[in-house]
Symmetry: C2
Subunit: 249 residues, 2 copies
């Protein structure tokens, strides 16, 4: 029986999602939990994709196969009993045996939270990127329009990647002002390594007046990572939602 | 020159406010920061009162004396440069040399955050007490009325305390429903050791139907800690505001 689970985790305490020897990872903790539930039998876990160290997830999707007679609605409770408290299974659903958390994903939504203020907030220090300078939000919104649609995002992809095809489609970039935060909502059919963080970092430079709105088109056209802005730090980023053809969860 | 500072800290990483040898404490970190700013000269820090391990502060007040020629409005920035990022100085003001952060306090406001929900929230696991069972909020509000005014709060004070006079005045207990949280706002002229956490723990037992509203008056009258409910856990509690005769900050 194949089970899909919607996971949340706070990335602060993890060296990212993917298993690495000797490191505390999200996948490592889930596999350890499943190992214990299955009395020592290894269960392979597949996610919609990796997240980096410090990056959070509000709606990561994983799938695995199990023989345990646990009804799907009881899976979050059963798994949570074997997980550390910075990972929580929130929902579970049975899926058919062809379902694949990564290959079947048709799009993703990421969010990036920026806290604007002079002194920051201790309670959100690991959950937002804290920025002290004022930001020209309208300029950032104008610049973001250039990135919508299908483009080669080579300029917005970490240099150390093995992916060859860097064409992706961004369907939405919404910049919401919520009290003392600026929240970027970025949706697309797929994302390159560090793509959201480089987009946010570049738009922040526009907002701070370090880059002109008109430069963003040039950056995109140059297909050169060195032209874009700095990669915004991990702790502001959330994998918010994974979209599938059929709503699974 | 005497300086008063409004501090915030997340209590998670501290063995409480007060200095203890070999432990990471809020006071210890502030004194270390001031030592460094004063080139190795020890500066004594006085707070409005201690907070326990895991308890947070949104508005702790401290004072200290300094000869440094730093204008008051620059103090938060100067001190923050020498503090770990789970403590932040938010505001500073010069005060007269008689001001005393503890003795001059005429009241305090504490808040206690409860998260209601089945699976909890990874992002608030250290910032709220997560409760899965439904709570009868009206019953809790009714029970809270008994505690208002001047009473001997012996039943709501940790047994291991050296304080003799246990008469205190509670002016407000407000229970606010905010989305998936229940927030207790408790104001009074002073609080005994663990008093807010025992009040919240007792009201939670009323809300869960384990204690009757009418029992709360009996508990108060018995002046016996063993009659009240469990001490609610530290991570839901915030020292929110310290009141002084004159608004200082």
């Amino acid at each position: 029986m194949r089970i899909a689970i919607l996971l949340t985790y706070e990335g602060t305490g993890f060296s990212g999602y993917q298993v690495q020897p000797g490191k505390r990872t999200v996948q490592g903790e889930i596999e350890r939990g499943l190992l214990s539930l299955h009395k020592g039998q290894y269960v392979k876990v597949t996610s919609s994709g990796r997240t980096d160290a410090g990056v959070h997830a509000r709606g990561q999707i994983i799938h695995f196969d199990t023989d345990l007679p646990i009804p799907a609605e009881r899976w979050p409770h059963a798994l949570n009993a074997c997980l550390p408290n910075d990972i929580r299974a929130m929902k579970a659903t049975p899926v058919n045996n062809e379902f694949h958390a990564r290959y079947d994903a048709i799009g993703k939504e990421y969010r990036y939270r920026i806290l604007i203020g002079r002194n920051g907030d201790v309670f959100r220090r690991n959950l937002t990127f804290q920025v002290t300078n004022p930001l020209a939000v309208d300029q950032m919104r104008e610049a973001s329009l250039v990135l919508l649609g299908e483009h080669d995002f080579s300029s917005f992809c970490a240099a150390n990647t093995s992916v060859v095809d860097k064409v992706r489609t961004i369907t939405d970039i919404v910049i919401k002002e919520e009290e003392d935060e600026l929240v970027f909502i970025v949706r697309g059919n797929g994302f390159l390594y560090n793509m959201v963080r480089i987009i946010v970092g570049t738009l922040l430079e526009v907002g701070a007046g370090k880059k002109q709105v008109s430069e963003v088109r040039e950056i995109l056209e140059k297909k050169d990572r060195t032209k874009a802005g700095k990669t915004a730090p991990a702790q502001g980023l959330y994998l918010w939602k994974v979209h599938y053809k059929d709503v699974i969860i």
